[in-house]
Symmetry: C2
Subunit: 221 residues, 2 copies
DNA sequence: GTCGGCCAGATTGGATACACGTATGCTTAT
DNA sequence: ATAAGCATACGTGTATCCAATCTGGCCGAC
């Protein structure tokens, strides 16, 4: 087995490779919730042994993406609609708080970058994948101005966890794309005014309402 | 090596044992931040092999309690004052949001339980350990009325991460205990009124101001 | 005297080997 | 025909083994 070839090509450790592979597969939706993931199979696909795969699975499990069942392997975590709604709510609370900090700190350059990202978002309205990428970039520009690295990490974590569902929602509900762009414009305006409270409220409601999840809530409260 | 004895005694898998052991050591402070943890050493202490220890370390790393450095082992994560402050802020944002949900949902029985916990808190003012226990109980009563299990889990996670630091703060600043009791009374009053916004604000400021961390902030913004 | 390279010990990352638990499919008895 | 019991195969969990990398001290050269 040409292991040295693998390392030379990728520059990644075996376990980092396994983590990245599984993470991508889950996030893209190629591994839907409930799928049984056999460590041996993944190991063979990547030409590595089961051990790094096991560790990657454990890490994904501790991050909530997978569920380990004793002696019965791991499955991709299945998210019920109310679970997804809850993740959006948590992200809204966190990113709202972050927005308050960012509004007091962002400068003209950051606002300009966000404006550019917003235009890119408008142009990407026809393609969900591009849209999601541009959408993430827009939010990331703001997060660069958040002086709380752990908070940023948590926001990204929850956004990542909800991304497969976001794609589905956008595909099923094309009008959501247009609404989302408008909401982003409002967020940008609030940020530009430097009003922390307004930015927080705006970001919160954007995340909650703009994602087309409101219809999933309702009976969850 | 009498492996079967281990399993029979503990009922835990080797990796669960390693995780629990390391987790307890870190949280109790016996393994202070910066300590280098050699997998082999831990494995010998627990009479297991290095492998489950490795997995436990990886999980602790993905939860933030340890930091893995490539090919150089793992160290217990060191929390700078601004890191702790950030954890408190995140918890404030999350538990504040939870409080808003709880205020709309808690009933007379829950309020009565909280009242009892509050009295227990007053009686525990002389001992930090009892105080922390009673304090956790008070917050947990509210969390029982939060209809968002993941949110509750996150709140508990951040509270756990900051607990060692909370003890230190309380010991250094005895007046904080008195202030904290007053703040809890305010939180309880807000909950009793059923006002979500007030409860959220109250809980947020309680966590931020009541923990004696305000003096650590200041220059972090 | 000090700085730089080199070798030895230690430690980590990864692979293989083995034992246990679980699931699945067959056989058999009712 | 159906259901219970058993056997086999698959997959997981752990231990041991090997290779690669890092750390620290020693020796030599400037």
């Amino acid at each position: 087995m040409a292991v040295e070839g693998q390392k030379g090509e990728t520059g990644l450790s075996a376990q980092a490779l396994a983590y990245k592979h599984l993470s991508d597969e889950i996030r893209s939706g190629r591994l839907p919730g409930g799928t049984h993931v056999a460590a041996e199979t993944v190991a063979q696909q990547l030409s590595i042994s089961r051990m790094p795969v096991r560790e990657a699975i454990r890490q994904l499990a501790s991050e909530g993406y997978m569920t380990m069942r004793s002696n019965r392997g791991a499955i991709v975590t299945e998210l019920a609609p109310q679970d997804v709604a809850e993740l959006f709510e948590i992200r809204a609370a966190l990113e709202g708080f972050a927005a308050a900090l960012i509004a007091a700190r962002i400068d003209a350059e950051g606002l300009h970058e966000a404006e550019i990202a917003l235009q890119r978002l408008e142009r990407a309205r026809s393609d969900v994948d591009w849209f999601v990428r541009a959408h993430d970039q827009f939010h990331d520009i703001f997060l660069q101005y958040c002086p709380r690295p752990r908070l940023v990490a948590e926001v990204v974590r929850f956004r990542t966890a909800t991304e497969p569902c976001l794609r589905i929602n956008l595909r099923n509900c094309p009008t959501a794309l247009v609404n989302t762009v408008d909401e982003h414009r409002e967020v940008l305006a609030a940020m530009g005014s430097g009003d922390s409270a307004a930015s927080e409220a705006c970001m919160r409601s954007h995340i909650l309402q703009g994602m087309g999840i409101v219809h999933l809530l309702g009976n969850v409260a």
